[in-house]
Point group: D2
Chain length 350, copies 4
């Protein structure tokens, strides 16, 4: 069915595999009269680009955004915006020899179970490469949010078990790990080097922070803002947990502590993460995602092939050591798309 | 828009406020020829019923399921099944005196921001009462799952900061808290008594466990099984975090540890929580939700009214001390609905 | 799937069979702050009520609208509005004896083919009774349209082969057939009497006329306004053709004649029926539906039973002779729902 | 919103303007394991290609189908299939001089009203060029239908007021007008020549005939098979009326005549057009569309510009004289998509 579409008022439909001709996204519901160019999209895409820093794959994708429709004289026309990104540097040879193996931690075994066949080149549709289409769509959403002065920041608050103790957005901007605590950054970098030697990989935690979102976004019952954020973020490949505001910690607080008291200057605390009963309350919206370590590692692991035969696998393809920081712009994009969707939906109540 | 609908192949649409005439649900996509009676639904509804145990509100709702359509001679016909639950014991008087106050931790302030007006009686649409409709729909989903031998268990693994150390489903069945560890149970009960005296409330953690789900459920990219589970569970009022498998802990594991290795007898571990690349792998599906403490407490808190005037509020309505254990059957229902939706969707690939 | 739902911004979901406990509709997307009472809905429902005039069934349904949710102090709250209509006068005995026969022109044979079983009492879900839920939802849509000064008129322009030559809305209001031409009316009444004697039934044509719809409603490509109108009207049981503007006649005109020329006072003609490229042009919107004769007739016809045995059938249940005029408010309701849906959707472009 | 998407189980999303870089379609829900190549799609696309026969525009589009995703080793993988068609021969100069005029019979005035701006080059999104994406998607649907032995024929039964008297599919295949009556064909050709001289254009009627569709397709109430067919066909630019089976004529028949009697060999007649109560009955499915004349004509007409100034317009762009026969494969495609959608949906009841 429509599992590659997301959003109701601001709706995106993506397509593409790691080693097909191209990936891309069709955006429906972008209002007319918005300035939009390939350069604006490219700027966001570049943040996700591989080949940056010590964690990253050697695959060099130019990841060039090409707008095929929906724009006239640099303005959105209100009709579908199609953004295509060609697959230029797809090298399938690495994958051929493992083509019948099910890589642990990967979708190989589940795609095979689901469809009875699979495009094994680079993970096919399950490749993290599909997230480039999300970032392209997110760039359009961010243009809309900008008009409302809504901003989204993402930063790494944990990597390989090392947690930040301080959040400074200025510090975040100085490093490719997008770590807002320079002391923690040093420990993280050390940890990465160590794990790289071991042929292993790391997970971490990313926080997403939305500023200036108006009160009133989100809908009762199922399309709650936090429910849609949870889906948006959990749909990103490596994410294993989504928290809103106090998140897991809320389970341990008493009501008198967890409740955000209200004065005529606003909320005293923000355990709610800016969302009450599924609707934004005007405070900052805060979400966190826990990211599992990259499953493709050099360290040999036990697995089976399509015939059920047991074999050992060691992945030597071009892979990152951690989904952080390349996953950060993806989280930002998914949050932008979700907020935009509800921002537009709220027009229907006005 | 359609924020009160959930699911694509198995689709539910709920309606109703705490103090309206009735609440209910219309179910589309239930296959024909399934045995379904009001008794079957009632059995699940009774598990959510208030007035059970020491944590619970005194409101006595018979919560009687009435099937209005879609059934002929005790069998589903394939057409929409409408289940109505009348509101019998709605006493609005408690709410009248606080009708212009925004209760901290509640949707009062956000519904008012969203719609410009609100049904303040008992939380209106934001009342936990709406979850009865979810449980009714879940009962239908459970009938479908039963045909496939799929079972769902929920149990309380944390309450007021006390965590279970052991999970015994037999133990769980002995107590209304649905706690699978009798030692932890005693500590939890003590904690509840103490907090009750303080006029405060508690949160906790519920785990949802799906047995015998086939491999192949879930769709690439956005409608991943874990993404839909995350939305389904986060849409329940009190939930502030959703974890799948290793969840938050996955962020701290190395790839070699987090990856579930595969032998010809199956997966060696289950950090994935039964889901790889968004598609079920045939192992048990495991999710956890962190639940915030009930916001309505006797302890006085600071708030404002609709005019922005600062006032103190102490909620003396009929409220539970913790959303646990009444939230457990709601979690079960939402999981059942999500699994059923994807079970039916998978027919389209066959 | 979701075949009992219609509309994207203004979304309705209906349920109910002819002989179940009740039928009804859940409306999502109705803006908050609209005055709505059971009386307002009842007024529209009464126009569809059986037992009026010489064409009609003897079944006496009070068809009483009961609002179960979404209204507070006579105002819409923005949350789902559920309207229920109980089935009071359902007499299944008439149907029992034909329970295994497939009535010609009815859905008996197709429901059986689709689901493998069927609720044979009164047509079950396929009964024209389901249209009462449409009319109830339409009444809500009409309230919204009224705020924008948009009006909808329906009238009978053909019955049993007799066509009107003149359209006078004043004349229409004088007769239960809703015929706007009093001369044609007399011929129609004569025709009805004659066919009643024969134990046969009649079809006809209804025109739907929307006044004051703004330009800009409808969307490119698939959700064109005329495409959605076509679906809305064709989904009414007895409808076999839908025309927009010049309709079938447009096929015979040359471009120079069919094109509506434009002056600074507006369009010179209205062959387009108020819709160009699927979007309203500000002129009156005009649609027509061709309605087949009621299939349930006394005259004996050839059919088979569930086992394929050939039998003769003569339907002696309580049936109308023509779907006109009771279908007129149903056409009005479906047009109102479609226009409202697009009126709200257009807010997203503003 | 999602006005460029169609279908629930078999879902297509199109994009593209007449003079943008490309048009195309993303198909979700195509089952895995189906053989699909660019050649298969090209074959259908070529039937819609301009530059064939005497009615047609001189624009020479290669209209080459490029599959960007969803195929691996010539088989569908179950993931989205994206088909792109580049715009090679788009010459915007013809349109520049009329860029602020509203062409009568076109969407210029309505797109401007809707969005406040418009891509005036060649009709932008409203151009008939978007139908190439429908045909590409239809080619995929036809592959699915072929597996079930379901066939679709379209033929021209009226052109410029000349009606066929006989339907011979063999005759149809001999001529580019797809006219199944060689006597009528001659009169049609004569009529075309005459109107061409006048600088005018013609409309007509196309019939769509589905063979071997199983009983049971379509859903109660709104997603009736005929309702979805009506929407599918009415969404094609030039269509002004959709009829099913006896269509408009059904309004004039008596019930005893219109009812299709049933014997153990099947239905005696097919006034229903193969659909009863919105569900296919196993007989041939028959629909007809009335097509308005091409609005772009040389003959001068009265219109206004964006400022409301009255001017005369004569369209000298490269245009067909009639939408027939190029619209025929578009009708076939839309029917194929609709039947496929319901064929897959019916799996959910099994």
């Amino acid at each position: 069915m429509t599992g590659s579409s997301f959003g109701k008022a601001f709706n995106i439909t993506t397509f593409g595999e790691s080693h097909g001709k191209a990936i891309g996204v069709t955006i429906q519901g972008c209002p007319p009269g918005l300035t939009l160019t390939e350069e604006i999209i490219q700027k966001e895409l570049d943040k996700r680009k591989p080949g940056q820093g010590i964690l990253s794959t050697k695959r060099k994708e130019p990841d060039k955004a090409i707008i095929l429709s929906g724009i006239f004289e640099n303005q959105t026309t209100g009709t579908p915006i199609m953004i295509m990104i060609e697959n230029k540097d797809a090298d399938s040879n690495d994958y051929m020899k493992n083509s019948t193996l099910f890589r642990p931690g990967h979708g190989d075994i589940t795609y095979f179970a689901k469809y009875g066949l699979r495009d094994f080149r680079g993970g096919g549709r399950a490749s993290a490469r599909e997230t480039a289409a999300r970032v392209a769509a997110g760039a359009v959403a961010l243009c809309i949010l900008k008009k409302y002065n809504i901003k989204i920041e993402t930063y790494t608050i944990e990597l390989g078990g090392i947690k930040v103790k301080d959040i400074s957005l200025n510090s975040k901007k100085t490093n490719y790990l997008q770590c807002p605590d320079l002391h923690a950054l040093k420990l993280m970098e050390k940890r990465i080097e160590q794990v790289k030697q071991e042929g292993d990989s790391l997970g971490g935690v990313v926080e997403i922070h939305v500023l200036n979102a108006p009160a009133g976004l989100g809908e009762p019952v199922f399309d709650k803002l936090d429910a849609d954020i949870a889906k948006a973020l959990m749909s990103i490949g490596a994410v294993k947990a989504v928290e809103i505001g106090a998140g897991c910690e809320a389970a341990q607080l008493k009501g008198s502590k967890n409740n955000d008291q209200i004065t005529n200057k606003g909320f005293v605390t923000n355990n709610a993460g800016g969302i009450l009963a599924g609707i934004s309350n005007g405070d900052d919206i805060i979400a966190r995602v826990s990211i599992k370590p990259i499953p493709s590692i050099k360290k040999p692991l036990q697995t089976i092939d399509e015939q059920g035969k047991e074999v050992e696998i060691s992945t030597k393809g071009r892979h990152d050591i951690s989904a952080i920081p390349r996953i950060n712009p993806v989280c930002k994009a998914m949050m932008a798309i979700t907020i935009t969707d509800h921002l537009l939906r709220q027009k229907l109540n006005q």
